[in-house]
């Protein structure tokens, strides 16, 4: 007991309560300060700290320090604080509030000891993050935000239903590792978590909404929702074999889409799913080493993915454009952003000396021995490097776009570069000296990543990819100086298996999406006037009208009599 036994989410709730009354110029500082305080608090939290309160007839565990929760908590608060620096120039209270509550919700989940608390923060996260999507301000962002919210409320409902069923089956509300005997409740909880993790089939909200948020909004969005889902999976479902399959599907499916995407934030959004796939696969393997690998990869992913989103955000901020076909040649105008982005890209591609290398090697080591899984993950990392390591930076910053030279509208403010710098330093530090990170992992770890075999493996795949790309690049540029068939360029180097995967799956999901859109556009008019839809009133118009759609008095009287007569006869 050292008086620190309270949930760190309180800092965020306090921050959210104070933000509206603080002067506008102090708010940016508060957005850095409160996450930083929470960071310090989590670092000092004694092992196994708990806070129990009784609520209704249940005992709630508002705080339960587990090794796993602490890793995520540290990563969340670190990145929230740096994101505060990145958003220093932004003065919109709504976004600041939403980001504060959103980060708080994520933190609440990872420190919650019982499912009820998890659910409350889970929903808080859903609602707060929807506001970040809406903050995009465009009509598309508004619609996407709605789809996003509905998706997450659905996921939350699945979770709720699962929790209720599990609670009735066992009478136990604590968050715990489930044994692998399948029950409906566990399946629903798993599905609820997979919605947030972005499991293909349940993932549509992610690439739909993240690219439509604001410059700063997407920084927050990328870090929290999927990673809390990873946390839930790691805590509740370690060693569930089905997760290995899920993870592989996620890693490959999303990377194939990323290779084809044109919008830089969309590419990054797909990569979130792909990277989460690695973590999910490692969780499916189970065991201390694999869970450590998943946690380390999640931590690192939060760092470098945020870094890359910050780079994309800086581009959007400067030229108000994120389509690759409309970008190019910006390197000279934002040299620091390019360099720092490339640090993130090297980390995600798993280059030695960057943090991604260490955790990715750990994940690969964990799946080692399962041939298919191992090679499929290796394949996914080729796609990763191709899309975010080469394609994205090349067409954004280096390629000379002769058709549409992007126009710079303003300079990226220094605080953005500073925030990226902080993350880049951490990425490199964890890569060069991984023991810094090992100390925070839930289980003791002594993995030595810089073995010749691993380093060679880590280098040969990206280098091979790069060579192919370089060769193709010359061919393309040599032949098509005027008209660049970018489409061709994206698709040809895509891994063959990716193409096979894409063929059917792509058609299936686009058919589903189109079907859903059609369904919605059919359903909405039905609700304009239910009386007309149900053919109750033949004279109704398209919209409900109180005069035309009023029932005659006799109908009400008749219905009343009918009910009474029927009930009397039924019960006598």
């Amino acid at each position: 007991m050292n008086g620190l036994e309270f949930p760190p989410v309180l800092f965020f709730l306090l921050g959210a309560a104070l933000l509206p009354i603080l002067p506008a110029s102090w708010r940016a500082g508060a957005c850095v300060l409160f996450p930083a305080l929470a960071f310090a608090h989590i670092s000092m939290l004694p092992e196994g700290a708990e806070l129990r309160i009784s609520f209704l007839s249940y005992e709630l565990l508002l705080l339960r320090e587990t090794g796993m929760g602490k890793v995520f908590g540290i990563a969340f608060t670190l990145v929230a604080s740096v994101a505060g620096v990145y958003a220093w120039h932004m003065r919109e209270l709504k976004q600041q509030l939403a980001a504060m509550l959103y980060a708080g919700g994520a933190l609440g989940v990872v420190f919650a000891g019982d499912f009820f608390t998890v659910l409350v923060f889970w929903e808080l996260m859903a609602v707060a993050s929807a506001f970040l999507v809406w903050a995009g301000g465009t009509r598309e962002a508004g619609m996407a935000g709605f789809r996003y919210l509905i998706f997450h409320l659905l996921g939350g409902s699945l979770l709720l239903a699962g929790i209720v069923m599990e609670f009735y089956a066992t009478g136990d509300l604590t968050v715990r590792a489930f044994s692998e005997d399948v029950s409906a409740g566990k399946i629903l909880i798993l599905l609820g978590a997979l919605v947030n993790a972005g499991m293909p089939g349940l993932h549509a909200w992610l690439p739909d909404s993240y690219p439509k948020s604001t410059v700063t909004g997407s920084i927050f969005l990328n870090a929290f929702t999927t990673k809390t889902a990873v946390y839930m999976l790691a805590v509740c479902f370690p060693g569930w074999e089905v997760l290995v399959v899920c993870g592989l599907i996620m890693a490959l499916y999303a990377v194939s889409y990323a290779v084809m995407a044109n919008d830089i934030r969309l590419i990054l959004a797909y990569h979130i799913i792909s990277q989460v796939g690695y973590m999910v696969a490692a969780i499916g393997i189970g065991g201390e080493f694999a869970l450590n690998a998943a946690a380390a990869h999640a931590y690192n992913n939060i760092l470098y993915k945020t870094l890359m989103f910050m780079g994309a955000g800086a581009v959007l901020f400067m030229v108000n454009e994120t389509r690759l076909t409309h970008l190019g040649g910006l390197a000279r105008r934002m040299p620091w952003v390019v360099v720092l982005y490339l640090v993130g890209a090297a980390a995600i591609s798993g280059f030695p000396l960057f943090n991604g290398f260490v955790s990715k090697s750990m994940v690969m080591e964990a799946v080692y021995g399962r041939e298919l899984a191992y090679y499929l993950l290796a394949l996914a990392s080729v796609g990763t490097f191709l899309s975010v390591g080469i394609k994205l930076p090349y067409y954004t910053w280096f390629y000379r776009n002769t058709q549409r030279e992007p126009e710079t509208t303003r300079r990226a403010p220094g605080n953005m570069v500073l925030a990226m710098g902080i993350l880049a330093v951490v990425c490199v530090a964890y890569g060069v000296y991984p023991y810094l990170q090992y100390a925070q992992l839930p289980y003791p770890e002594d993995f030595f990543a810089y073995r010749t075999g691993l380093v060679v493996k880590a280098l040969q795949l990206p280098l091979g990819t790069f060579v192919v790309f370089w060769f193709v690049r010359h061919k393309i540029l040599g032949e098509a100086k005027i008209v660049l068939d970018t489409d061709w360029l994206y698709r040809t180097p895509a891994p063959g298996v990716g193409m096979v995967v894409l063929g059917g799956v792509n058609r299936f999901f686009s058919a589903c999406e189109a079907g859903l859109d059609r369904l919605i556009s059919r359903i909405v008019p039905l609700f304009r006037n239910p009386l007309r839809t149900l053919r109750i009133n033949r004279n109704s118009g398209e919209y409900f009208h109180p005069e035309a759609d009023r029932f005659p008095l006799g109908t009400s009287v008749g219905l009343t009599l009918l009910v009474i007569v029927v009930v009397v006869f039924a019960s006598l």
Partner: protein, 502 residues
Amino acid sequence: MDPWVHLAVAVLLPPFFGALVAVLFPARRTNLPWIAAVVSCGLAFFASVAGLIYAVTEGTVHYHLGGWEPPMGIELVMDPLSAFFCAVIAGVASFVFIHGKTVVERETPEKVIPFYSTALLLIGGLLGIILTGDLFNLYVFLEISSLAGYALVAIGDKRAPVSAFRYLILGTIGASFYLLGVAFLFMETGSLNMRDVAEIIPIAGDSPATVAGLILIVFGIGLKMALFPMHGWLSDAYTHATSTSTAIIAPIGTKVAAYVLLRTCFYMFDPEYVRNEIPLTTIIGFLGAAGIIWGSVLAIAQRDLKRMLAYSSISQVGYIALGVGLASPYGMIGAVLHTLNHAVMKACLFLVNTNILERFRHTHIPRFDRTYRIRMPWTMAAFTVSAISMIGLPPTAGFFSKWYLVLGSWERSNYLFLAVIVISSLLNIVYFFRVLEKVYLRTDGEPYDDRNEQEDLALKREEARGSMLFPVLFLAVGLLVIGLANAFIVTTFIRPMIPDGL
């Protein structure tokens, strides 16, 4: 005799005295009618809270009016259930009256005195229904409150008299059925006192007349409660009545009928009997479930805020009926808690509706836009809190009553009810978020830039006056407080209500 037992009558008297005081001194320039209304409802509220605490700690109060012993005389019964309902009704009514100060003067300038007088008669009648322990006396109070209700609806816009007429026809039919049911029970048991009847029925046995009597009472009252499909009177009456009339009638009128339902089904009859012998509660539950969906679907179709809220009331009453239908402790807790929650949030929403009407002169949802949140930030914030509570997101009050209903449905393995509760939450999201979307989101397709910011800065805050804002905010904060304190409310007040056989 313990002087505290007089609390039972102390709840009932202030509204009736207030109604007299409001008429006796027709001083045009003073606020006397308003003061009489607020003070008498406040007194009734304090008396019922004190009575609630007394009933929970010391036991049920049986107060014999005029010293006449029942079953000949009339008794008032103050147990946790009746005291709780009295507190809800008097409390919500006080806030609505505070809010109504300027609204009534503006909307019906020449009818201020009759308005407060009839409104107090309505409150008095409703409190009487709750407190009385006599079946026929309940009918008398039912008529007092109903006649006052018809009159209140009739003091509305130019369509109000027709709506009031429909309300009167249907309400009278409901009351007649109730009276018929009471007559049947009286024939079988020879008593009108509820406790007496409850003791005689098991001895007299299960005769068709008893069953018919119970069913007539339940559905006669069901009509007053707007139980689907007998809700035909509700939407027009609520829409065309004046703002304050609606805010008085809507949150509390249907709740009192729900109370009578609870009282007859679970206290006067054996819950086991009502649940299993005749499937009465099951039927009520299914009608409630149908009403939840039907009310929500029609609420989505509405484009006028006030009418939307009226249809939403049909749906919300369905939750209470669903709780009754479960006929289990969780169902009962859910129903009673939802009565409190819905009274508070519906009052808050109708008051917000009034504030919007005062400021913008309309409540047509398609015309709402984002300037509303800048011009009336607090009102819109209160709307948001109540909307979230209606949808049932934690930690607002609405979540917890639905939670108990979900638990109850699960316990009874009634997955249909479970599905209805979940689907209706989604439908609630649809009809509230389309308002929130217009007010809080920019849907004009333009990104938010300096120009929009300039426009927004040019808008002045035109929040409603204090007397209209305070009750709205108080009720909205109340929703959060009730939500957080729900464990306390349930264990202290609602658990003791649950009758033995349930």
